[in-house]
C-alpha cells in the first residue's frame, strides 16, 4: 500500500504567451472554492487556471491582467470567496485586484490599490479583503468596495502572506521578509490597538498558518528552511527546529531534503505534517513531533522537478501537487 500519482495534467501554455525565450510555466499555489469542487491555481504566465477537483479537467483560464500576457512572477495569486463558490479574487503584481464570476468568466469588479500588492485573503464571512504590499497591509470592505484601513507600521519589508483565521472573521496573521509574523484582531480598532501579538522568527518568513483544534497556534516556515511553532495568543515559542531539513533523510547529495513546500494540519488526528521536497521532485511527508520530524510516507513518481505547491484536503483525502515541471498531479492511496 502506498501513495501513487493517480492522474496528472500538463496545462498547455497560453499560445500568445510563449515567445521563444518564454520562462517556464508552472503553478505557484492552490486555492479551493467554498464547496471544494473547483481548485484554482495561479500560473507563472500570469493566468489563473480553474480545474475540476475530481478529474483535473481545466474548466477555464482567467488572465490576471487582461490584455497583457507577460510573466508576472511570485507576487500574484488568487483567492476564492469563502461563502460563494463561483466568486474568485485575483491580484497581479500591479495595483489591481479583480473579482471574477468563474461561471461566466466575467470580471465583476476591479479594486485599485495605490501600491503594488503581494498577497490577498478574504475573511470567513466575506466582509473584508486583506492585501499585503511591499511594507503595508490594506483592508478593503467588500460590501462597500472601499478601502477601510491601511496598517503601515507593522512590517518593514515585503509582506509574504496574509491569512485570516478559518473561523474568526476579525483575526488575521501577516508574515514578512523582515522576520515578523503579526497577529491582529481587527475588531479592536486601528493599527495600534489591533496588533495583539508579534512573533519574531528572526529570519525571513515564507509561510505562516493557523493550526490546532481551535486554530490557536501558528506554524512558521522560513526562507532558510527552518520550522517553528508558536502560540497565537501569548506569542511564546513551543517548538523551534533550526535544522529541520536534516531531520528528513533523503537520497540527495546532502543526504537530506532540499526544502519545505508547505505544512498541513490534520484536524481528525491533530497532527501537523510538513511536506518537504527534493529538487528531483520527490516529496517526503513528515509529522511534527516535540522531538523533531518523523517521516510518514513518500510521494514519488509524479514530478521530475521541484514541487512548489500542495493542496491537501483530509475529507475525502485528496492530495494535489504542482511542480516546476509544469505538472499538476493528484495522488491516490492504493
Amino acid at each position: 500500500m502506498s501513495w501513487r500519482p493517480e492522474r496528472a495534467i500538463v496545462p498547455v501554455p497560453l499560445s500568445d504567451a510563449t515567445p521563444a525565450t518564454a520562462p517556464r510555466v508552472f503553478p505557484l499555489s492552490f486555492t479551493h472554492s467554498a464547496n471544494r469542487a473547483v481548485d484554482a491555481a495561479p500560473f507563472t504566465d500570469g493566468s489563473v487556471r480553474l480545474f475540476d477537483r475530481q478529474d483535473l479537467n481545466i474548466l477555464s483560464i482567467i488572465p490576471t491582467k487582461p490584455g497583457e500576457t507577460c510573466a508576472l512572477g511570485l507576487d500574484y495569486g488568487a483567492c476564492f470567496s469563502r461563502q460563494t463558490p463561483h466568486l474568485l479574487f485575483t491580484h497581479s503584481n500591479q495595483n489591481t485586484i479583480r473579482l471574477w464570476d468563474t461561471r461566466s468568466r466575467e470580471c465583476l469588479n476591479v479594486i485599485t490599490n495605490d501600491t503594488p500588492i503581494t498577497c490577498i485573503d478574504v475573511n470567513s464571512d466575506d466582509t473584508t479583503l486583506a492585501c499585503g504590499g511591499e511594507e503595508n497591509l490594506y483592508f478593503w470592505d467588500l460590501r462597500a468596495m472601499a478601502l477601510r484601513s491601511c496598517f503601515s507600521d507593522s512590517h518593514s519589508d515585503l509582506v509574504t502572506q496574509v491569512r485570516f483565521h478559518p473561523t474568526n472573521p476579525n483575526q488575521l496573521l501577516s508574515s514578512s521578509l523582515d522576520g515578523l509574523v503579526c497577529l491582529f484582531d481587527l475588531s479592536l480598532g486601528g493599527e495600534d490597538e489591533a496588533l495583539t501579538t508579534v512573533i519574531n522568527a528572526e529570519t525571513s518568513v515564507s509561510i505562516a498558518n493557523f493550526f490546532g483544534p481551535q486554530y490557536e497556534n501558528v506554524l512558521v516556515l522560513t526562507a532558510i528552511e527552518t520550522l517553528s511553532v508558536w502560540n497565537a495568543e501569548h506569542g511564546n515559542r513551543m517548538l523551534d527546529l533550526k535544522n529541520a531539513r536534516a531531520m528528513i533523510p533523503a537520497p540527495t547529495e546532502q543526504g537530506m531534503v532540499d526544502y519545505f513546500v508547505d505544512a498541513h494540519y490534520d484536524s481528525a488526528t491533530q497532527h501537523i505534517c510538513t511536506i518537504a521536497g527534493t529538487h528531483a521532485g520527490v516529496l517526503h511527508i513528515a509529522q511534527v513531533a516535540p522531538t523533531g520530524l518523523n517521516t510518514m510516507f513518500v510521494l514519488e513518481g509524479g514530478h521530475t522537478d521541484t514541487v512548489r505547491c500542495i493542496e491537501w484536503d483530509c475529507e475525502p483525502g485528496v492530495i494535489m501537487t504542482g511542480g516546476e515541471d509544469g505538472k499538476i498531479c493528484r495522488w491516490a492511496f492504493y
Binding site: 507563472t44 507593522s154 521578509l177 522576520g179 515578523l180 503579526c182 528572526e202 529570519t203 511564546n236 547529495e253
Partner: protein, 221 residues
C-alpha cells in the same frame, strides 16, 4: 563540499590586509562577501532571503538592549558586577514611554537590536505599539533558561541577506580586527550555507568576491 580554493582565499585575505595597511582608515573596515548568481529567476523561483549566524561576530560595534523581567534583571546585574555590561530596560521603564511613537523611536535608535524576556514578550506590542516593527528592531525572545550573554553574542553575529530583483547580493562576514583563521571560517561557512539553499547549489553561483569597506575586491570563486 566547499568549492572555495583555500590557497586563493588565503592570498585574497593577505591582499586585503596589504591594501588596508597601505592606507589605514579611522575605523575598523568590514569585509563583505559579494556573490553573483546565475540560473535563477527571482520573479518565479523560491524566495532567497534570510539570516546566518556566524561563528565569529563580524560587527562588534552592534549593541543589544534587553527588555528584562525580574529574573533577567538579576542576571544582568550579576553580569555587570563581573564586568560584562548589557544595557536593559525594565517593564517600568517601558511603561514610562506610554506607547508614544517618539520616545519609542528614540529608544529604538539608541541600540542596534533588542532582546526580551519570554514572560514579558507578549506585552511588548501592547506597551510599545508597532513603532519597533517599522524600524525592523522588534525584540527577539530569550528564555529564562538561556544564557543571556551567549544569546547577545549570537544576535550580534547574525547577518542578513536578501536577493532582490538583481542576481547579486552582499553580506558582511568579517572585519579587519579578526585573525585570518576567524575570517576564513566565517567566509567558508557563509558561502556553504548559501549554496545549500540554492536549487542547484554551487552551479547557481557565478562568482564570489571578498572586499573590505575601502579596499579593492578579490575574486575567490
Amino acid at each position: 563540499m566547499s568549492k572555495i580554493d583555500s590557497a586563493t582565499l588565503q592570498q585574497s585575505i593577505a591582499g586585503i590586509r596589504e591594501a588596508a595597511a597601505k592606507k589605514p582608515r579611522k575605523f575598523v573596515e568590514t569585509i563583505d562577501l559579494q556573490i553573483g548568481l546565475k540560473g535563477i529567476d527571482p520573479s518565479t523561483d523560491k524566495r532567497f532571503s534570510g539570516s546566518i549566524v556566524l561563528p565569529f561576530c563580524p560587527c562588534p560595534r552592534r549593541t543589544v538592549c534587553v527588555f528584562a523581567d525580574a529574573a533577567h534583571e538579576g542576571e544582568i546585574k550579576k553580569l555587570a558586577a563581573a564586568g560584562t555590561i548589557i544595557p536593559m530596560q525594565t517593564v517600568a521603564d517601558l511603561k514610562k514611554l506610554n506607547k508614544e511613537p517618539k520616545p519609542v523611536k528614540k529608544l529604538g535608535m539608541k541600540y542596534s537590536m533588542f532582546l526580551a524576556s519570554d514572560s514579558l514578550f507578549k506585552q511588548i506590542p501592547r506597551l510599545l505599539g508597532p513603532t519597533l516593527n517599522k524600524m525592523g528592531k522588534f525584540p527577539t525572545v530569550v528564555g529564562t533558561r538561556e544564557n543571556l550573554a551567549q544569546k547577545c553574542n549570537e544576535m550580534k553575529s547574525t547577518v542578513r541577506f536578501q536577493l532582490k530583483k538583481v542576481l547579486c547580493l552582499g553580506v558582511p562576514v568579517a572585519h579587519l580586527g579578526m585573525s585570518n583563521e576567524e575570517m576564513t571560517k566565517n567566509i567558508v561557512l557563509s558561502i556553504n550555507f548559501l549554496a545549500s539553499l540554492l536549487k542547484k547549489g554551487w552551479q547557481n553561483i557565478r562568482h564570489v568576491h571578498i572586499k573590505s569597506s575601502m579596499g579593492p575586491s578579490f575574486r575567490i570563486y
